[in-house]
Symmetry: C2
Subunit: 88 residues, 2 copies
């Protein structure tokens, strides 16, 4: 069993109103040192695969086909092996 | 200048209908090996601070005061120093 941590971020050229709203709210709370905020998605998947490479392929296909908008978003994938789950 | 990568996840005991919907959609696309999906948030902040520790404190306060719901969510913070930005 593998765990894939997927991070999906808006491309730098895309305006991020959600991040701007967070930044303004942080400034209102006194956190003036925060000069930029960008909001994205974090998705954790458990994947039943025979190898880390196979799990990464599944996660990549999932992002390309469903989870990420390839026009506006980039994604990165980190695959970890779960020892305890595979032994169970 | 420091960059803080904040990951906000629902606590394991909290039901995640968004993740369930993603999992069902992935199964419909044929990705039966995906056995669990949990959705969370990824927030990137640029912080003007004198040290990594100071930047982490700002990011932690931002999460506790605004970004994360401490009843239902956990957060983790990774702080990176941006060399090029501080030299600019």
């Amino acid at each position: 069993m593998y765990k894939a941590n997927v991070t999906i971020t808006l491309r730098a050229s895309i305006l991020d109103p959600q991040g701007k709203a967070m930044q303004h709210a942080l400034h209102d709370l006194g956190h003036d040192s925060v000069t930029q905020v960008r909001a994205g998605k974090h998705i954790e998947m458990l994947i039943d695969a025979d190898s880390s490479a196979e799990a990464e392929t599944v996660a990549t296909n999932a992002c390309e086909q469903l989870l990420a908008n390839s026009v506006m978003e980039d994604f990165s994938i980190e695959v970890l092996e779960l020892e305890s789950a595979s032994a169970a």
